[in-house]
Structure formats: structure tokens, C-alpha cells
């Protein structure tokens, strides 16, 4: 069986359609389980009370924002090296979800920061890096939207993603350095070191839920992209008789 067969849009479109319900269901089930553990089982935090439970959204969304960007960079390599059209479409399909994850991470981070540290925004390393990551997402989306020629847009976006992904560790390192220099003991919004194992379980379940959700959203979006790009072909036109 040739795995590259699935890289053809006419084959991938129905496959994505069949996989979609499974990932959606997985996302819902994991989210329910995660919230149950997060609210029903995990104990009240000694220092922060109940408000710490924001981490069950904040941490998964921050991780996913980062992870999705890496996946996009992987597809970018496929786009540039193997000129795979489907890979370029997957980049475009993942970008909005990644950006939304970054926004959620930033907003929940701010909402967590206010009662915990007294300020809506403390310029900590993690949040500042996530803010820059959001701009990397927006830059990618703006670039591909501004270019009319599809092939040029795909390849330009892919190159931008590769330049970005190389810079992300450098950006994170520089922001962390800057942060520790200017604040002494780092004021970090990451959870306190004494995390109950149930809290970790809740975070893990919600992270998996976010992952399944991201895959489902990307599969749905890429199907629409395929329809738009291939709307002149026979196989697409016969789909909606």
C-alpha cells in the first residue's frame, strides 16, 4: 500500500471526512474527563484557592499553540521540498486553530494573573513568548492572504514558517533571559512546583482534548480548502449532485 496515495486530494478528502467524527468524539470525551478530574477530583490549592483551575485551559492551549506551529513547520518542509499541495493546504488549515489557541492562552494567562499576581499582564517569559508566537501566526496568515498566486502563497508561507520555527527557540531563550535579568526571581505563571498528581492528570487530559480538537478542526478546514481549490475538477463537482 502506497502511503503517498493519501496525499492526493481526491483520496484525502473522503478519508478526512471519515476520521472527523472520531476525533471530534475523542475531543469531547477527553474534555469531559479532564474537566471532571479538574473540578471534581483535584483539590483546592493551598495558596490560590479555586482560581488556579484556570491552568486546565491555560497550559493545554499554550502547549497546543506551540505544538501546532511545529506541525505547520513540518508541513512547510513537505511543501518546499516535495512540493506537496496537500501539505500546503494543511498549513493553511492549522493556522487559525493555532492562533486561537495562542489567544486563549494569553487571555486565560491574563485572567489568571490578576487575582494571583495583582496585574493583568506581568511580561513573564512564557506569556511574552506566546504573544510573539501569536504574531508569527498572524504574520503567516496575512502573508498567504495577501498573495493571489496560490503556488507562490503556499511556498512563501512555507519559507516564512521555517524561518519562524528556527527563531522560536531563540525568541523563547532571549525572552526568558530578559525576564530573569529584569525581575530577579522569575515571576512565572506556570503552576507551583507542588502540584498534586490529580492536577497533572487533569492538565494532561485537557491537553489531549485540545490536541484532538485541533486535529478535528484542521481536518474540517482542510476539506473546505480542498473544495475551494479543486472546485473545477470532475471529482469535486460530482460530490454535490
Amino acid at each position: 500500500m502506497n502511503p503517498f496515495r493519501f496525499a492526493a486530494p481526491p483520496v484525502f478528502y473522503p478519508l478526512a471526512g471519515r476520521l472527523l467524527p472520531w476525533f471530534t468524539a475523542a475531543a469531547v470525551l477527553l474534555a469531559v474527563a479532564g474537566l471532571y478530574v479538574g473540578f471534581g477530583i483535584a483539590p483546592t490549592d493551598f495558596q490560590q484557592g479555586e482560581v488556579y483551575r484556570i491552568i486546565f485551559i491555560h497550559v493545554p492551549s499554550a502547549w497546543m499553540a506551540m505544538f501546532i506551529y511545529l506541525v505547520m513547520a513540518g508541513y512547510a518542509v513537505l511543501t518546499l521540498v516535495w512540493r506537496s499541495k496537500l501539505s500546503a493546504m494543511m498549513c493553511r488549515a492549522l493556522a487559525p486553530t493555532g492562533a486561537i489557541m495562542a489567544v486563549i492562552a494569553l487571555l486565560t494567562g491574563a485572567i489568571w494573573g490578576k487575582p494571583t499576581w495583582g496585574a493583568w499582564w506581568v511580561w513573564d517569559a512564557r506569556l511574552t513568548s506566546t504573544l510573539i508566537l501569536l504574531f508569527l501566526y498572524l504574520g503567516y496568515m496575512a502573508l498567504v492572504a495577501a498573495i493571489d498566486d496560490t503556488t507562490r502563497a503556499d511556498r512563501a508561507g512555507a519559507l516564512l514558517l521555517l524561518v519562524g520555527v528556527v527563531n522560536v527557540p531563540i525568541i523563547y531563550f532571549s525572552v526568558r533571559w530578559w525576564n530573569t535579568l529584569h525581575q530577579g526571581a522569575s515571576v512565572s505563571l506556570t503552576a507551583s512546583p507542588k502540584m498534586a498528581s490529580t492536577m497533572l492528570t487533569g492538565m494532561l487530559l485537557m491537553s489531549l482534548a485540545a490536541w484532538m480538537y485541533a486535529i478535528a478542526a484542521a481536518l474540517h478546514r482542510v476539506r473546505s480548502i480542498i473544495l475551494q481549490r479543486e472546485r473545477h475538477t470532475r471529482w469535486v463537482r460530482q460530490l454535490f449532485a
Partner: protein, 63 residues
């Protein structure tokens, strides 16, 4: 420091639910618009013997 700050929790979770809901609505709307576009262009075109630029394995135009 043991106040519940439940309002903060509610806003955070509420915003997240809203963001996901909006994304889902936009996803469904985009799909609907794409399908409409396919139908519209198909009905306008009398000759539908186009090939996909991406994949040579589509059915060839019938003679």
C-alpha cells in the same frame, strides 16, 4: 488568599467556550460557502472536462 475568585474562573472558561464556538461556526459557514461555490460554478460551466492541477490520477475527460 483563599478567596474563590469564581468570577475569574467563569470568565476564563466562558471566553474559551465562546472562542471554540465561534471557530466551529466559522468552520461550518466556510464549508457551506465552499459547497455553494462548487455548485454555482458547476452550473455556470457547460463543459466540465477540467482536470485537477494537483493529481493526474483523476478520471480523464471522457471522449
Amino acid at each position: 488568599m483563599l478567596e474563590s475568585h469564581l468570577s475569574y474562573l467563569a470568565v476564563a472558561y466562558g471566553f474559551t467556550a465562546l472562542a471554540i464556538a465561534i471557530e466551529c461556526v466559522v468552520l461550518l459557514r466556510t464549508r457551506r460557502q465552499s459547497i455553494e461555490q462548487v455548485r454555482r460554478e458547476r452550473d455556470l460551466d457547460l463543459d466540465d472536462h477540467y482536470e485537477s492541477i494537483a493529481d493526474p490520477r483523476n478520471e480523464a475527460a471522457t471522449p
